[in-house]
């Protein structure tokens, strides 16, 4: 239990650093926010009033405390562009992005673990060589290119999948309690909507996952190769265990540790990379929101996005640390 508390404390510290960095971010942006907020025709007095009302006349550390308190309370300010609270905007845009990332991660895991495991087992075989070549090539292909290619071929030319969007026009009025439509559609037993959502999410998720999958396969393969060399594999074979039993009951759990660490980090990276995929596939989401905010110099919205993506990154890493701890009997016991 001590270890878990340590990881949580560590994550909170990381979160503090993150808040501090985003605070600096809004300070290093050129231009005086008070002048900008007061409008082009304001006089010096008016600007001073605005400055005081925004708290910008206070010392640096006081400003930071005020900012930190607001952020922790979920108040990221108001978007200069949508004129909505940024927190509300993000709460609306985050679920579709998280859905996309979870799907991409599922594809990643479903490919990386079995392929990495089998390539490691038949290390040096033609299959293994092919896997290595494809993985190296795959790790070098940019996500936006994969996305455009998949969209053009599978969606536009062959019409196997919808070209863009999150839902078909017919289902445009669908609403759910959580905003995670995949979940909502299942809760409401709207299987038609669920199928529609899956058709729409498949290509973007695939495009988002391939680069990460290439890395995942390589990491898994390397970790598993060193596991297969250990004597307990010989022992299991001598006991009469089938190759499948050796792979899944013995090697997999021991060799999964290094890969899991990487997958945990990939989760955060993927959320950052949704920008590319959402733009191409015209999906709502945090990535598209970020692009709009950046192009319109909506600094608070940008800061809000950075904070939330950072938060997801911190949480996913913490979760992986705790999972790794839970599956390691030695560490669990030593506590």
């Amino acid at each position: 239990m001590r270890y878990v508390l340590e990881r949580i404390a560590f994550s909170l510290f990381a979160l503090f650093i993150l808040i501090f960095i985003t605070f600096l971010l809004s300070h290093v942006v050129p231009g005086d926010p008070a002048i900008a907020a007061a409008g082009p025709n304001a006089g010096a007095e008016k600007i001073q009033l605005v400055r005081e009302s925004m708290g910008l006349d206070k010392p640096f550390h006081v400003q930071f405390l005020v900012y930190g308190a607001k952020v922790l309370a979920g108040d990221f300010g108001t978007s200069w562009f949508t004129h909505q609270p940024i927190a509300d905007d993000i709460m609306r845009e985050l679920p579709p992005s998280l859905e996309l990332v979870v799907m991409a991660m599922l594809i990643n895991l479903l490919i990386s673990f079995p392929i990495g495991l089998v390539a490691a087992r038949y290390h040096g075989s033609n299959f293994d060589n092919a896997v290595r070549v494809v993985a190296i090539a795959g790790a070098g292909v940019p996500i936006f290119w994969t996305a455009i290619l998949l969209q053009q071929k599978l969606a536009a030319d062959w019409q196997l999948f919808p070209v863009a969007g999150r839902l078909s026009f017919a289902n445009r009025d669908f609403e759910g309690a959580t905003g995670f439509y995949i979940l909502d559609s299942l809760v409401q037993m709207r299987l038609d909507v669920f199928a529609d959502l899956m058709m729409h999410i498949f290509l973007p998720a695939l495009a988002l996952s391939l680069l990460f999958t290439a890395v995942g396969v390589r990491i898994t393969r390397t970790a598993m190769i060193s596991e297969f060399r250990k004597d307990y594999v010989v022992m299991a074979r001598a006991k009469g265990a089938s190759e499948a039993r050796i792979m899944f009951r013995h090697v997999f759990r021991n060799g999964a540790t290094p890969s899991l660490t990487v997958f945990g980090m990939q989760f955060g990276w993927m959320l950052g990379a949704t920008v590319l995929v959402e733009e191409i596939f015209g999906r709502p989401g945090i990535g598209r929101y970020a692009i709009k905010a950046v192009t319109q110099s909506d600094i608070h919205a940008v800061v809000g996005v950075v904070l939330v993506v950072g938060l997801v990154f911190v949480i996913s890493n913490m979760a992986i640390d705790i999972i790794l701890y839970a599956i390691n009997p030695r560490k669990t016991r030593e506590d």
């Binding site: 250990k230 022992m235 074979r237 001598a238 013995h250 599956i327």
Partner: protein, 336 residues
């Protein structure tokens, strides 16, 4: 004398394991590493396989019992309990015997147990695979406790819930042996089972294996680089060098005329109580690894008896599966 040479016909019929002209090659390079190995092991016999590191003893054993992925039986024939295994399909067929007829104890007790699986589960898995006892049954639980007790684990009920890293090396090796014995094989191959352990623990582990062999008529192949350990504990010893089989002799005949010059040289390297430091010898030159490809005897460059014939003729092979065998080309000429 339990091991006096017997007529070959008789020995052949009785043997549990026969190797005839077995060659082992590496899968990647197809290089032959071990050549023309022929010997037989009787049921209940404790058979030692000696040689320096790299002599090919572990490679040979792991390959003929289907445990090695990177090597294969290139030529020759293995017979196990009257079933013949020719070189094609060897691995696939022999693997079906693993866990039932053949038990194996790897060298390093620190890595031969799965670190993330409880001891009890590892033993129950062996019982399931070897004897079809359901891992969740009461029988499996009871047998597991009995096995652990038998190999000298003091608190079996606690041990079954523990992980390998909670045990010392000696304890782990006992557990590994318990796993191998749980399947009641007819032959147990122990690959340097005590090398990683201290002298006292070594003694106890070896005794455990010997006791089991005597009680249950279990044939044991004990692989070791330690000739002294083998001399004291096994019935017959086969000596390998550079991937060749040099010598098979009864363990009490070491140092007698039945010894190959290499066996003798190895024997002289063993320090004994009555020796001064200066008396302990070493073999000149560097040991040769398995895969010696040239004609003649692999040991010739280090051998005091070397003649021209050693580098030009092929060494004798134990084609008729004699119980005792000497591959020295020089002595062959002199023998009656």
């Amino acid at each position: 004398m339990p091991n006096s040479p017997s007529p070959t016909g008789n020995a052949e019929r009785n043997a549990i394991l026969k190797l005839e002209g077995v060659c082992v090659a590496l899968a990647a390079s197809r290089k032959t590493m071990v050549r023309n190995i022929s010997f037989s092991v009787r049921p209940g016999e404790i058979f030692g396989l000696a040689g320096e590191s790299g002599s090919g003893k572990t490679l040979l054993m792991r390959t003929i019992f289907g445990l090695h992925d990177d090597a294969f039986v290139e030529k020759g024939r293995m017979t196990f309990k009257n079933t013949e295994f020719s070189s094609s399909e060897h691995r696939r067929r022999v693997r079906k015997l693993l866990g039932r007829e053949i038990g194996f104890v790897p060298q390093d007790p620190f890595s031969s147990l799965n670190p993330t699986m409880r001891i009890g589960r590892q033993i129950r898995e062996a019982l399931y695979l070897g004897k079809g006892i359901s891992p969740k049954s009461a029988e499996a639980g009871k047998t597991t406790l009995e096995l652990l007790k038998e190999v000298g684990i003091s608190e079996p009920a606690t041990a079954v819930g523990q992980y390998p890293d909670q045990f010392s090396g000696g304890m782990r090796q006992r557990i590994v042996i318990a796993i191998a014995l749980s399947q009641e094989p007819s032959i147990l191959v122990a690959d340097e089972p005590t090398t990683a352990l201290d002298a006292y623990t070594q003694r106890r582990i070896i005794n455990l294996i010997i006791e089991r062999s005597r009680n249950r008529n279990l044939a044991v192949i004990l692989i070791s680089h330690n000739l002294e350990l083998l001399r004291k504990n096994v019935d017959r010893i086969a000596v390998m060098y550079g991937g060749q089989l040099f010598n098979i002799l009864a363990s009490d005949e070491i140092g007698s005329s039945a010894s190959h010059p290499y066996t003798e040289a190895l024997f002289k390297c063993i320090p004994r109580k009555d020796m001064n430091l200066a008396d302990i010898q070493s073999i000149p030159g560097e040991p040769l690894s398995a895969g010696y490809g040239a004609a003649g005897c692999a040991f010739s460059s280090r051998c005091g008896l070397r003649r021209d014939i050693c580098d030009t003729s092929e060494i004798p092979v134990n084609a008729s599966l004699e119980q005792e065998f000497d591959a020295c080309l020089v002595r062959a000429g002199r023998r009656p």
